[in-house]
Each structure stands twice: as structure tokens, then as C-alpha cells.
Subunit: 112 residues, 2 copies
Amino acid sequence: MLVRSASEVKQDTIEQEGVVNVKIRWLISKPEGAPNFAMREFEIEPAGHTPFHSHDWEHEVYVLSGQGVVSGKEGDIPIKAGMSVFVAPGEEHNFKNTGKDTLKFICMVPHQ
Amino acid sequence: MLVRSASEVKQDTIEQEGVVNVKIRWLISKPEGAPNFAMREFEIEPAGHTPFHSHDWEHEVYVLSGQGVVSGKEGDIPIKAGMSVFVAPGEEHNFKNTGKDTLKFICMVPHQ
């Protein structure tokens, strides 16, 4: 069993085209022995965003704090603490912080 | 894309031996199109607990609010908001609320 605070996990800044002010922590993944999928924590600063893209795998997201939108073919959908987001494989999407505080969520993905 | 508040999802009381005061919401699972794993939200009332058991699949947990312990061969490990818990396949475990407020966490499991 592995029990730890997110703050104990190294946080990395994502340096990638289309990404602005996004940090990630890999909370549970292959190095911790996870056999199927990974749990990551994202922090997006105000006006920051992830890239608008699609990929072959799904996202399962739970919003922890802050305010933002998830964008896709449906337009911009507001998100805040206590909301869950399912992005199916192949769906274009991105996450943007539209608030004044850090937008924080966890995002699960299958191992690749 | 599916975006919704946890409060929009039907909450069920778990009626099972060894379970006391535990409610569950299946936030994202097969009916929502999830191909690999499910996200559930648990609420455990003060002094409530899940069963002490093991199974062939893993848990990936993120604690949202409240206070409790996760118990295993290592003893009782305190948990609170912002902590992640990885329970490997085959590990005996349970979650108990040791605080005065609802213990709330999300728990991911692979499809069976």
C-alpha cells in the first residue's frame, strides 16, 4: 500500500507546444506498481491551458478546485470543484483556467 | 464528452457484510463509455467503514475531504484531503472514518 500527500510528489512544468502554465504530478503510475492506469494531478494557473488535441486514450477527470472550461466539439463547458469529466478516445479537447485561482484536477489515463 | 457534478449522479447505499454507513456514486463507468476503468465517489459517515478484504484488482484513491485511516498489513495509516492511496491487487485493506465529518474520496478500479 502506498499512502502519501500529493505535495510529497515531485511537480513538473509541462513544456510542450500549446501548453501554457500547466504543472503535473504523477501521483500513482507504473513506478508505484499500478498495473492498468495512472493518476495525475494537474495545476493550471489563471489564463493557462492544456493543448487542444486528441489521442487514442480516454481521460477520466475530477475537478478539485478553481474554475475553468473544458472545450470540445460541444463548445466551452464550465467546470469547478466536484465535477467529473469523461473525454472519450479520439475526442478533441482542452482544459483552460478562466478563474482567478489555480485550477486543480486529477486526470486518469490508461497505461500506454 | 460528459461533464457533470457528482451531485447529479444517483447515490447508492452499499448493503454488504462488513460495510457500515458507506454510500457510492459511479461517476464514470461502462454506461458512460469508459473503455478501461471506472471512477466512483465514496462517502463514509463518522465511524463507518468499508469491509476488510482483498481482491484481484487495484484501487487508486484520492481523498477529497474528512479524516480517516486506511488499514492493511502496515497497520492504520491516517488519510485526509489531498492524499492518494494505491492498494495493489491482492492486498488486504479497508477504509474507516475516524473523524467528525463525512470522509469523501474517489476510488478508481479497472473494469472486471
